[in-house]
């Protein structure tokens, strides 16, 4: 069923259509929640809250854009609210937390998804959030700063450190991979 038709039926209160919309998008969105929120139960909570918002605001979806992108945006925003509600995002991590490393982008090609998700979950919240928004969602520093209410310069710093963290973890998880000199 086409998205427009599906949404129209959902708005009419058709429970089957609602279930179909949920079944279509929920698994993918749960994957996104897990990338933002380390704790599984909290990620599922975010998915639940996000879909409640989606169904309550479905009449606001403008058919000019794809439904999946609209749903994804709401889910990401819900994850951010969830992260912020659990406390302020740490934008400072002591420099001795990890060594200063040069990041070679080639190292990322050696990752599979499970390993990547595991590393993401082990990141500090600030790193993980900025990394997700910048690298995976494609937001600019300005947009991230606005979304998280932090300074733009902090975004840059967080992303830089997130990449360092990622390369360091890849090295520790897969010692057979050679880090560039």
């Amino acid at each position: 069923m086409h998205d427009v038709e599906l949404v129209r039926k959902c708005l009419e209160g058709d429970q089957k259509a609602c279930k179909q919309l949920y079944a279509t998008y929920a698994p993918n969105m749960l994957g996104i929640c897990h990338r933002y929120i380390a704790h599984s139960a909290e990620a599922e909570d975010a998915l639940q809250d996000g879909f409640i918002k989606i169904f309550q605001n479905l009449h606001r979806w403008k058919q000019t854009g794809p439904l999946g992108a609209w749903i994804r945006k709401i889910i990401v925003n819900t994850c951010l609210t969830k992260i912020q509600s659990s406390g302020p995002i740490e934008t400072q991590v002591s420099d001795d937390f990890m060594p200063e490393l040069h990041v070679d982008p080639d190292i990322f090609f050696s990752l599979d998804y499970e390993a990547f998700e595991a590393i993401l979950k082990s990141m500090p919240t600030g790193y993980r959030t900025v990394f997700n928004l910048s690298i995976l969602e494609g937001y600019s520093y300005e947009e991230i700063a606005s979304l998280l209410n932090i300074k733009e310069v902090s975004c840059r710093s967080q992303l830089h450190k997130a990449k360092q963290f990622l390369s360091q973890r890849i090295h520790s998880l897969y010692p057979h991979l050679k880090l560039p000199a």
Partner: protein
């Protein structure tokens, strides 16, 4: 090269699905709205309400007043005939009255009131089928009293004729009605009037209501027009009036913050510590429709809510210095940050009130419960976000704090006022107003509910 690894990570994470527990759907489906929030009926409802309001006003202003004037026409005509009769005979009657009232032997006199109408109830029918009513009253002595008596008698007779005519029109009269109507006339006036009638009882009084007399309007002295402001003959409290009220005054509008999720206690306390309510303003205009002691009021109201954000906190800033795209160093700055900001909420409301008023000597006091709708608003200002940084209302954690909402409210005021002249009055109106729903957007985790203590000062114009 950079774009390659980013694309790789995106493609790695894209489309990756997780097994979703069934319990989540069970929770979600409980919050799915049964029907869409289709508000297409709302303009129609407003249109219908407006039509009803205008129809009601038209009915009261034109149709009912036209009906009233139709009813008054025969009354005026009858009065005219009476006046004419009185005028034509007044000289003779008074001359004769002089001789009669000076007669010490005359203790009382009687007068016959004859009305030539077949449907009238006969209290004492005579042989000709006419009504004969005998009334006995004492008389009076001086010349000044005689003149006064003539005037009052004229008024009393007019009034009796009016009442008589009401009976003629209604074709249904009850026995019990008669004493009630007589009681409406002040006792002295009745006595004086009947004394004069008594004094002229021997004179030929053309009191029968004939059509040619009814058409005459030569001496229509009192009920000249239906719009006459002389309402001393309107023995009713249910006088209907239209008017306008203008008011302005200070308000104090505290608000209550409520954590919806229950896990933001610290943030909520921080907001309460840093925000304070200040004196605001209200102003409005409203139309009123008054019937007796009851007044319905409908209008448009502006309400300004005013608050201040005042916070000071130690802040640490990290400054990263880059050169040629490479990070040179990161510096940390510590300091005290003081923030003061004025927050304004401009609200537009549609109030509907019902006022019950007591009229004392110089002051009117009322009780005025009401309902209303907050229909539109703008909000400018800052609050602390969850990172305890001051942010604008437009972007608090990625969401807009306040949204355009229609919010019902309840109000209760005690208007106290007095008259300035026939048309204008002043009033002071202390009261309270409760907004029943929070003003903030539904996806903000804290509810912000307002109540308002008000003192309105205004003027009322009655048309």
């Amino acid at each position: 090269m950079r774009q390659d690894w980013i694309d790789h990570l995106r493609s790695l994470s894209e489309g990756h699905e997780k097994q979703v527990p069934d319990a989540i759907w069970d929770q979600v489906k409980q919050h799915i709205p049964r029907k869409s929030k289709n508000r297409k009926w709302l303009p129609w409802m407003w249109l219908m309400a407006g039509t009803m309001l205008i129809s009601g006003w038209y009915y009261v202003a034109f149709i009912q007043s036209a009906a009233t004037s139709e009813k008054q026409k025969p009354i005026n005509s009858i009065q005219t005939s009476i006046n004419e009769s009185m005028a034509s005979n007044s000289a003779n009657r008074l001359n004769d009255a002089n001789s009669l009232v000076n007669d010490p032997k005359a203790e009382k006199a009687s007068v016959d009131l004859d009305v030539d109408h077949p449907s009238r109830v006969n209290r004492m029918p005579n042989s000709s089928g006419r009504i004969k009513k005998n009334i006995s009253y004492p008389r009076f002595e001086t010349g000044g009293e005689k003149w006064l008596a003539t005037q009052v008698a004229q008024t009393s007779i007019e009034r009796r004729a009016l009442e008589t005519n009401k009976h003629l029109n209604s074709h249904s009269i009850r026995e019990a009605d008669v004493p009630e109507r007589e009681a409406d006339v002040p006792e002295n006036s009745m006595e004086i009037a009947h004394a004069v009638i008594e004094s002229v009882s021997n004179l030929p009084l053309p009191f029968s209501l004939k059509p040619d007399q009814l058409r005459s309007n030569a001496l229509n002295l009192t009920y000249k027009t239906e719009k006459s402001k002389i309402d001393c003959y309107q023995f009713s409290d249910s006088k209907k009036q239209w008017g306008l009220e203008f008011y302005v005054g200070p308000t104090y509008s505290p608000y209550q913050l409520q954590d919806k999720q229950g896990d933001l206690k610290n943030y909520l306390e921080k907001r309460e510590d840093t925000e304070s309510t200040r004196t605001g303003l209200t102003a409005g205009i409203r139309g009123l429709y008054r019937k007796g002691r009851w007044t319905a009021k409908l209008g448009l109201e502006y309400h300004l809510l005013y608050e201040q954000l005042h916070s000071s906190s130690r802040e640490t800033r990290i400054i990263s210095v880059y050169r040629d795209g490479k990070l040179l160093y990161v510096d940390t700055l510590n300091g005290l940050r003081v923030v003061k900001h004025h927050n304004y909420h401009h609200l537009f409301n549609v109030p509907l009130m019902l006022n019950f008023q007591w009229n004392w000597k110089h002051v009117d006091i009322g009780l005025q419960p009401g309902i209303g709708l907050h229909v539109w608003s703008t909000h400018t200002g800052k609050i602390l976000n969850q990172l305890l940084e001051p942010v604008y209302f437009d972007n608090v954690g990625g969401i807009k704090l306040f949204d355009h909402k229609i919010i019902p409210y309840l109000s209760f005021h005690v208007p106290i006022g007095g008259r300035l002249n026939d048309d204008w009055s002043w009033f002071v109106e202390p009261g309270i107003q409760f907004y029943l729903k929070p003003f903030n957007a539904s996806n903000y985790p804290i509810d912000q509910k307002y109540s308002s203590y008000q003192l309105r000062l205004g003027f009322q114009k009655i048309f």
